[in-house]
């Protein structure tokens, strides 16, 4: 990857929805530069984005283009080298550690490309984890985690450990964990990357339900037919936004009244 020179930000692409809907994710000239020994790798080079409440967005782009890096910044898991990020109107760089933890806990549900479940720990306990950190009482915790697992069709596997589950089942545990605290934003980094098409479709159906309920959904994918589930596709190339288009489904949705907010 090229060493960065300080650029003017790339032109902001026109957003498909203007309207009066609330902007939940806004980035301005977002840079992420990784230091690899003496070498610098610019994974993001001035990303400008606006995502509205209850949008369903797919991020596409070649491998190494910076999609995961962008998702991690949006998910408050990492901080940008330069540029600014507003989440629901709050400047994220101004938040302290505990506030970020609260956002990761309650506002955002993150589904990782590699699941990131705790090994040696039952599906139930994995799903309970966010509830432990939000201080829910044990009884309520178990009840809500069970409900979330039932929602992803894993009600019969709650005491299985990750290594006793299939890839698709693990991903569903990860999704249950992401939605158990009822966050308004679901971020999924290649949630179907490791799954066959049947399982992929189940996962996509699940995301559809979440969108219907008013969640904002951002997902990274390589597959066009997965991206077709979204209403808007943002293309990333070499750490920059290279395109922003509305899908056919997006057109259809744009012509109906906005969904009730979450």
């Amino acid at each position: 990857m090229a060493t960065p020179t300080i650029h003017q930000p790339s032109t902001t692409t026109a957003t498909p929805y203007a309207g009066d809907r609330e902007v939940v994710i806004r980035t301005e000239n977002l840079w992420k530069i990784y230091q690899m020994g003496s070498e610098q790798v610019a994974a993001l080079r001035g990303v400008n984005l606006q995502i509205y409440r209850n949008e369903y967005v797919a991020i596409m782009g070649p491998s190494g283009s910076g999609k995961s890096t962008l998702m991690n910044l949006i998910g408050c898991l990492d901080s940008p080298t330069r540029g600014e990020y507003w989440l629901s109107g709050h400047l994220v760089s101004a938040l302290d550690d505990d506030e970020l933890a609260r956002i990761r806990n309650q506002e955002i549900g993150f589904v990782f490309q590699t699941f990131n479940l705790l090994p040696r720990t039952s599906a139930l306990h994995n799903v309970e984890l966010p509830l432990i950190y939000s201080g829910a009482p044990p009884a309520e915790r178990t009840e809500r985690a069970m409900a979330a697992l039932q929602q992803v069709d894993l009600g019969s596997r709650v005491h299985h450990k990750p290594n006793e589950l299939s890839g698709g089942q693990r991903q569903r545990v990860a999704i249950a964990r992401a939605l158990v605290n009822r966050p308004s934003i679901i971020l999924a980094d290649e949630p179907t990357g490791n799954l066959d098409s049947t399982t992929s479709n189940e996962i996509m159906a699940l995301l559809e339900v979440l969108w219907e309920r008013g969640n904002t959904i951002v997902l990274v994918t390589h597959e066009h037919d997965i991206a077709e589930h979204a209403h808007r596709v943002i293309h990333i190339r070499d750490g920059q936004v290279a395109g922003d288009t509305r899908t056919r489904r997006g057109d259809a949705v744009a012509n109906r009244p906005p969904a009730p907010s979450a």
Binding site: N72, G75, L77, D78, D97, D98, A101, R102, R104, N105, Q106, F110, F112, N116, L117, L118, R120, T121, L129, P130, I132, Y133, S134, R177, N181
Partner: protein
């Protein structure tokens, strides 16, 4: 995250790495075990010695050349050697003539020597010159024959009352009454044998020869200070009797009111105090040693916790990604380290308990596990875990979620 979850997580990790945890805890186990065992031992021995001293008769005290205070401190002892005259037979006679309160005053002095009979000999025998009335003030009793009598004293007779060791070693267990032993070139006729008292800490109490005090002084001269054993009429009169003895000694020595005693008054409680000082010294050395173990144990725990943090970077990342605060992670690892160390402490207590059981079965000393020491040891081990867990835990807490998630496993 509540303490219950944190402890559950900690116990889960312990269970996942049983052997490693045990090895990690060796330092804490050993130190807690020594700590508790030493306390149990000191307490058991104290009880034992206390009962032995009590058997001497609680209403007895002695007047001697040096006080305990002087005997236990080399500097004071050197000084006291200059100032304290020896106690002589005349002092004994003076006290007997003037004291009103005591039931009895006995006198004795002693040295070690070799005792021979018929070609056989026994070394390191306690040779005492005693007045006849020490019978009844000491622990021994007459098993055979008779004790020294006032007439033996007056005649300065060459007669001896011996401990059972003499009989077994020099007479092969045969009746020695009327037979003779040779002590420092002088023949003595055996007139009585004492009952066996056994060992105290491997030291035989039956290895003695008693001869009349006047005979002793005839043979060995009068430059050995004698010690007076004084028996009060009862426990209530003990303090007053001690005061009277002190007063009479000061009068005899012409001490003015501002001069210190140049002799010692030693009661059994003073002996007990001395004993406690001694065992206390041993105990503090052992406690010091166990603290060194504890620190070593703590450092090992810190090391293993640092390894655990590295090993579980991904776990920490996952927890942070779903909303764990720094304090949650800090707490988790602190509790884990404390639980680890506490488990070590509990194992140490268990081992100490087994040790006291074994020691109690093998020795006459009544060992017991003092609850206070157990609680203290467990609390200390917990604190050690907390203390040495701070650094690893804060390292874990400072991990950013992404650095943690990126780490390859």
């Amino acid at each position: 995250m509540g303490i219950r979850e944190a402890i559950a997580v900690a116990l889960g990790t312990l269970r996942a790495h049983k052997l490693r945890s045990f090895l990690t805890l060796l330092g804490v186990i050993i130190s807690v075990c020594t700590l508790v065992a030493v306390v149990a031992m000191v307490q058991g021995v104290n009880t034992y010695v206390g009962s032995k001293i009590a058997r001497l008769g609680s209403n007895i005290f002695s007047v001697s050349q040096f006080s305990l205070n002087e005997m236990t401190n080399p500097v004071r002892f050197m000084r006291a050697k200059e100032t304290n005259p020896i106690i002589r037979y005349q002092d004994y006679q003076f006290l007997r003539a003037n004291a009103r309160l005591p039931r009895a005053i006995g006198a004795q002095t002693q040295r070690t020597g070799t005792v021979k009979h018929n070609g056989r000999s026994l070394d390191e025998v306690n040779i005492s010159g005693v007045t006849p009335n020490v019978l009844g003030m000491s622990a021994f009793q007459v098993a055979n024959g008779r004790f020294l009598a006032p007439t033996d004293e007056q005649r300065r007779a060459y007669v001896a009352f011996v401990g059972p060791d003499i009989v077994t070693h020099l007479f092969g267990g045969a009746n020695p009454l009327g037979r003779h032993i040779l002590v420092s070139g002088q023949q003595y006729e055996i007139i009585g044998v004492a009952t066996a008292q056994g060992d105290v800490f491997g030291q035989s109490q039956d290895n003695f020869v008693m001869i009349p005090l006047r005979t002793y002084q005839k043979i060995y001269g009068n430059q050995d200070s004698i010690t007076l054993d004084v028996q009060a009429r009862d426990a209530r009169l003990l303090p007053a009797t001690m005061d009277e003895m002190e007063m009479l000694m000061r009068v005899r020595r012409h001490l003015s009111w501002n001069e210190k005693n140049n002799f010692g008054i030693i009661g059994s409680d003073a002996l007990m105090t001395l004993w406690h000082t001694l065992t206390g010294a041993i105990a503090s050395v052992m406690v010091g040693v166990s603290f060194v173990f504890l620190v070593v144990g703590g450092i090992v725990i810190m090391n293993i916790m640092l390894a655990a943090v590295t090993e579980r970077t991904q776990e920490v990342g996952t927890r942070k990604a779903v909303g764990a605060r720094r304090s949650d992670i800090l707490w988790q690892f602190l509790v884990e380290s404390a639980v680890l160390s506490t488990v070590g402490g509990l194992i140490g207590v268990l081992l100490a308990y087994l040790f006291t059981l074994a020691a109690g079965a093998l020795t006459p000393i009544p060992f017991s596990l003092p609850l206070g020491a157990v609680v203290l040891a467990v609390v200390i081990s917990t604190l050690v875990g907390l203390f040495f867990g701070v650094y690893p835990a804060s390292k874990a807490a400072r991990l950013t979620p992404i650095a943690a998630l990126h780490s390859e496993t």
